[in-house]
Symmetry: C2
Subunit: 208 residues, 2 copies
């Protein structure tokens, strides 16, 4: 009996993506479940009035593309070049039903996701802009592939509007928050997508 991982890969389809690749659009029929192997994917939702909410960034090992109603509620776009694996929903369901422990790992992943979203709701409704940006940076610094712990350089694959729409604030507010943090010597903007980070000071800024 093949291992869970091998069985998954057997029904999976690997895709290499370039920055800007669209994985799916909101309204598309939800045929696949996706998992990130490398790179970053932006999950976003467009509103009737033209505003956009970024609901998540999905990094290595994250799952996305669940469509409980049969169609995708969100857009998924690659921000980086990377590798994504996707699974036909029915095939994955069959595999999960045949492998209870594997399904249980998915269930745990889902409950962990619920817990993370609860943290996010708290962050977005109770804290000011600077704190939100600090929390966002801390989140990014946990991704080894994007934060070099020796040089302390954080590479941000997303734009300022992406960050703003993720935290539910205006783009300009993100810029100003970064300005505040730079004046406090918590970060240093090397260029738009590369920040030098003083992790201990950054953690002090987070009164969570």
């Amino acid at each position: 009996m093949p291992s869970d991982h091998a069985a998954l890969m057997a029904i999976g389809e690997a895709v290499t993506v370039r920055p800007g690749s669209k994985l799916f659009r909101q309204g598309d029929t939800g045929t696949h479940i996706y998992m990130v192997e490398s790179g970053v994917v932006r999950i976003s939702h467009d509103l009737p009035d033209g505003k956009r909410q970024v609901l998540a960034f999905r990094w290595a090992h994250d799952v996305f593309g669940m469509a409980p109603d049969g169609w995708y509620f969100n857009n998924a776009d690659a921000l980086d070049k990377g590798r994504i694996v996707r699974f036909h929903t029915e095939k994955l369901q069959g595999l999960l039903l045949a492998r209870p422990h594997m399904q249980h790992r998915f269930l745990l992943k889902a409950t962990a996701e619920i817990s993370l979203q609860q943290h996010r709701i708290i962050l977005m409704s109770k804290y000011d802009v600077v704190t939100k940006v600090v929390a966002f940076l801390l989140e990014c610094c946990r991704k080894d592939q994007y934060f070099d712990s020796v040089t302390r350089i954080l590479t941000l694959p997303m734009s300022r509007p992406d960050i703003a729409d993720y935290m539910g604030v205006a783009t300009e507010s993100v810029s100003r928050a970064l300005g505040v943090l730079e004046r406090r010597k918590v970060i240093h903007r090397h260029d738009m997508h590369h920040l030098a980070i003083d992790l201990s000071r950054l953690r002090e800024c987070a009164r969570l």
Copy 2:
């Protein structure tokens, strides 16, 4: 082989609760998973500075009490008298592993929950106070046990601070929003916990 439901009840423990009953506190070790049979449970989280976020109200058939890290992150309090069933986490896990289809229903419930929370994040970061209150009222009107569709009376088991902390606004803002809706003849406050609702007008108010 007993049905899934019977098997669940066999390992479950029913509890009757009075208004104000504490089911668990944040920080308690997470020993049980809960399911509401009747009544309403408030899931909330206290912050260091004394502020509180209400993360969810759990109605009939809703599940709560998942503790991915082994301890509860939130408080759970009954708002109403009602019946709750709780399951030892390990026993439930054993049952789920033995019954893949039952586990799959839990997985679907979890992904549906993730989807609902995404709606909530959008609601809380993109809309104004009145729209938030409208969305909250519409959510409550879907609960047959609390909205009488012939008299059009909605019974709210929660207080204004509960609603405010749920939507991430100030208590006073909820009062003002209800005042606006009453002046627009969308609702009529019979008393604090009983609103007469004009559903079609309420739906018009929701530009979601």
